[in-house]
Symmetry: none
Subunit: 197 residues, 4 copies
DNA sequence: CTATAACCGAGACGGTACGTCCGGTCTTACG
DNA sequence: CGTAAGACCGGACGTACCGTCTCGGTTATAG
């Protein structure tokens, strides 16, 4: 009875061809006619794949976008590790900006976000991914800064990270006036000047 | 008697009864079965109003929520004017928190936000309303702080306001882990400590 | 000058201007975009008249068409009275053909007819008008033919008239392949050859 | 008669269950609350079928009625082939009368007819079906009569058939005073007396 | 020479049905 | 078998007209 559990640890090997076709179709639709045109039906049609197949591997439309998002995002965000907190954060933020400025991930992010409303399960999953996005690299940078003494240690870590990253997402997703590269830099400068020990 | 010059076309106001019935229905649905249950059909049914009537006065579902949002919001957010920047901001932020914690405006905000994606016109309108929300009171507080010398004047005003307000919305709408009242206070403290002259 | 409006026993004198504007609008719509575009709303808009006004004077859309139909029709169908049955009938039928070939009355007739289905009251009214159309002149011709001995008297009068007129309407309204003028003539010839004493 | 070419023809046949449910629902509505109550929505509801399903298989409401009409009609109108023209025609006409006197096909015919106005495509289709109705059996009878010498050969075939069938439809659909069985017989007698060689 | 009533335009209203779109499930047939 | 193709139910969409119903504003008699 327990031997089954061993094999269920990795229950989902999405066939590579299907995976690729679906994500490509979603990407094309996103960059083509924008988020509202991204429907499961359209994706299935464009990918030359049956709706059934999509539902088999992805629980919802947002899951596809999430997948797409990850695929694109993870390979472009790395820890600069320049040895300088301000520099690291600026590089990181501008990389994120560059990433999100492209139609595909920008649309995908906004769409995912919208989709997540009203569906608690989806909400959690989306949040987790977003957090990961924020954390993987940001955490490392903040970690270094804290241990090297470049950041105040009397401030909650979460609060620090929010101060750094929140304005970015706020401007991008809520105010719909994304920060410019210059604003990113100034933003980091101001935040760090306030968080210096 | 001179002819009436009808060059000025002032659009008719929404009849009070209709306006009230529709917003009430929307509010009930929001607080009842949540955002996904808020459809124009459901609103029309619950309000005892024809769908056509709704479409006559509101261009979209989001417009209704926007309307609801304004109606509820504007009467609850006032300038504390305690004479103390930190105090003012804390009161303001906690008032906003209190307002957004209620199911109705919270759901409405998230829903509006989601709805705004993909429709540029709606996006602009939603942004404008959100900005107003942020600005009307926040601006006054920041104004006073700047003129009284409680805030650095070498930092872009927009950046200041974003630092104050972005984490709030980010936590509420994107991270879906709204700030607590304590976090609001600490947040203001940290931001102000960094923005003090 | 005062006795002009003395007789108010008939409560409905449709104001001439309104009457004209409405019928003209209906006619324009009929000949323009065809029967389906003839809606009360469209008529009202085109006539520059309030819907209320139309409903005040006409009980239904079909009533308007009926009115239009009468206005056009009655002035164009007269008894030829050439002294020859066949000639009379041919002239009559071809006059009717000419009348119905114009887009306006043709569309109106078909529309009226369609409209009459399902509404018994309307059905009766439409039938009455159609019958009148058929009878006023046709009756006179058949009367003369019967009394002059040009038609068999052992056949039911209704049957005779149906044989003459039914194929015309059938071809026009049901088969939608209206008789040509030549077919009208041949038709009369054949019918009369069978109905000669 | 018409053979289904399953190997060459792409369009799938309507699934039998769907077909049956929809036609039955339409028939019930027709015989129940009359033609005006026959809406696509009502049919869908009564049949327990989605509107989309109906639109998938039938282009319009009239198409459904046409279908219903055919289904009912074709199985009840057969060539009597008594060897006698007059007899054949009388049987045929009275069968048609019987068929059309039932609420369902009567209402359906009138409704279809009304519906066909204004939509040229539908008009053609309706006409084709009506013609078929008229022709399949009527043609055979007239054929026999012509070859056996029971009918004049100097008269256009179309004219002959119109003389036979037009009064029937005219009385039924236009005058709304359907022929009685006796009138059918007398009508045939008169027509044949005029068309005898 | 008003007043009063009929009539008008404008158009909002509750409704019904339309035809379309998409979501998510279930079925069929092929490879 | 898995998978493509796609039919299916359901629900919401936004639109078109329906026929009813206030609204003011204008004539145009009737007092």
């Amino acid at each position: 009875m327990s031997e089954q559990l061993r094999f269920e640890q990795k229950p989902r090997p999405i066939p590579a061809a299907t995976h690729r076709k679906v994500l490509e179709a979603a990407a094309e639709l996103l960059s083509g006619k924008g988020y509202p045109s991204v429907t499961i039906e359209a994706i299935a049609a464009k990918a030359g794949v049956a709706k059934t197949t999509i539902y088999r591997w992805w629980p919802s439309k947002a899951a596809i976008l999430l997948d797409l998002f990850d695929t694109i995002g993870t390979e472009q965000l790395t820890d600069p590790a320049t040895g300088n907190v301000a520099g690291d954060l600026k590089v990181y933020l501008k990389a994120l900006l560059g990433l999100m400025s492209g139609t595909i991930p920008g649309e995908a992010a906004a769409g995912m976000f919208a989709e997540a409303q009203g569906d608690p399960a989806m909400k959690d999953e989306v949040c987790a991914h977003f957090s990961e996005f924020r954390q993987i690299v940001l955490n490392q940078i903040v970690d270094r800064a804290l241990s090297s003494g470049d950041l105040r240690r009397d401030v909650d870590r979460r609060l620090i990270e929010d101060l750094i990253i929140a304005p970015f997402w706020y401007r991008l997703l809520i105010a719909h006036e994304p920060m410019s590269a210059e604003e990113c830099e100034r933003h980091i400068d101001v935040v760090l000047s306030g968080l210096a020990p």
